[in-house]
């Protein structure tokens, strides 16, 4: 029971924070919807673990917990992949800026000399 209450509390706090971000226009409505659906699903699965059996049956694995584990693993790897791509893009943007600054500073130096 303690873990169920704890996970529910954490989920509610995360949903609350996400709604706060929407209020400040810091998050897109589509992203928020997906994020909220995920945490609502977490709350539902915590209180009704039997729901995972449907998932297990669909994925043809023995236990619901296994199905959640496999899907979580896939989800985490996908997120890592997305983060890697985002990091690459940020890195390239920073390099472009550093290059532009270096070239501009030199241009100014040429003008003044």
């Amino acid at each position: 029971m303690t873990i169920q209450i704890l996970i529910t509390l954490v989920s509610v706090i995360i949903i609350g924070k996400a709604l706060g971000k929407l209020h400040k226009h810091e998050v897109h409505i589509q992203t928020l919807t997906v994020w909220m659906l995920f945490w609502v699903a977490v709350i539902a699965l915590v209180w009704q673990p039997n729901l995972t059996d449907y998932l297990a049956h669909f994925l043809q694995v023995t236990r619901g917990a296994d199905a959640v584990f496999y899907l979580s693993l896939i989800g985490i790897f996908y997120l890592l992949f997305r983060i890697f791509i985002r990091l690459e893009r940020n890195d390239q943007d920073i390099t472009t800026l550093v290059r532009e600054i270096a070239l501009l500073k030199n241009e100014k130096k040429d003008i003044h000399s």
Binding site: F84, I85, E88, T95, V98, A102
Partner: protein
């Protein structure tokens, strides 16, 4: 030899011990030298400035691949017809530059790659370094389809058109493999030319450690598998 539009590009990071002598060596070939100081913490940029060459400074350290893009953009904007890459740690020799750029001046090729493993080349690389470089060669051959005797030699020369069309995205040392991929993608004409590489205790301490090539390899495989 027409040196008017030949630009030498030197990427430097904390090279205050060697950069002065390297620039002096290059000045015997051309006055058109651009040094990109990749946010050195020492006097590299000041020494280069005092030598009277063009100096650009990265405000954040971004790696050799990034410095190459900055130097290339600068040289192209100053009308370079030929761009030579030259290392800042003193392992390259300016006496190799005329024979490196000759095939470009003759219009025979678009890119000339220095090699320390052709019959006339000279190098005092250690056995481990040679093995790692040969592994790198096979790696590049497997992924790019281009078979070279030395795929990771920092001394190269490019025609203006080749330098303009090559697109590099790798900031760190993996740019060297990306460069070979670009030669294949753009169907550039290339040639290897023997060059002398002199490793010193200093250049060994500054250069890439052999183990780093493994992480570079992993990164390239990851990018090729998942990012295309």
């Amino acid at each position: 030899m027409n040196t008017l539009k030949t630009w030498i590009f030197i990427a430097a990071y904390n090279e205050e011990q060697a950069i002065g002598a390297v620039i002096d060596d290059c000045l015997s070939v051309t006055q058109n030298i651009v040094v990109v100081d990749d946010c050195s913490a020492d006097a590299t940029a000041d020494i280069a400035q005092r030598k009277g060459v063009h100096v650009l400074r990265h405000c954040i350290n971004r790696g050799k691949g990034a410095a190459i893009r900055t130097g290339t953009a600068y040289a192209l904007s100053h009308g370079a017809d030929v761009i030579v890459h030259f290392d800042a740690d003193g392992q390259h020799h300016a006496f190799d530059i005329p024979k490196l750029i000759q095939p470009l001046l003759d219009g025979k090729v678009d890119v000339v790659l220095g090699s320390r493993f052709l019959s006339e080349s000279e190098t005092n690389a250690s056995m481990v370094r040679k093995m790692v470089l040969h592994l790198g060669r096979y790696f590049t051959w497997f992924f790019s389809g281009i078979r070279l005797t030395d795929a990771h030699n920092g001394m190269r020369a490019f025609s203006r058109d080749a330098a303009r069309s090559i697109v590099l995205t790798e900031d760190q040392f993996a740019y060297a493999s990306e460069l070979i991929d670009e030669i294949r993608r753009l169907k550039l004409r290339y040639q290897e030319v023997p060059v002398t590489i002199s490793y010193t205790d200093y250049s060994r301490s500054k250069g890439q450690r052999s183990l780093n090539f493994i992480s570079i390899g992993f990164k390239l495989i990851w990018k090729k598998l998942f990012l295309g």
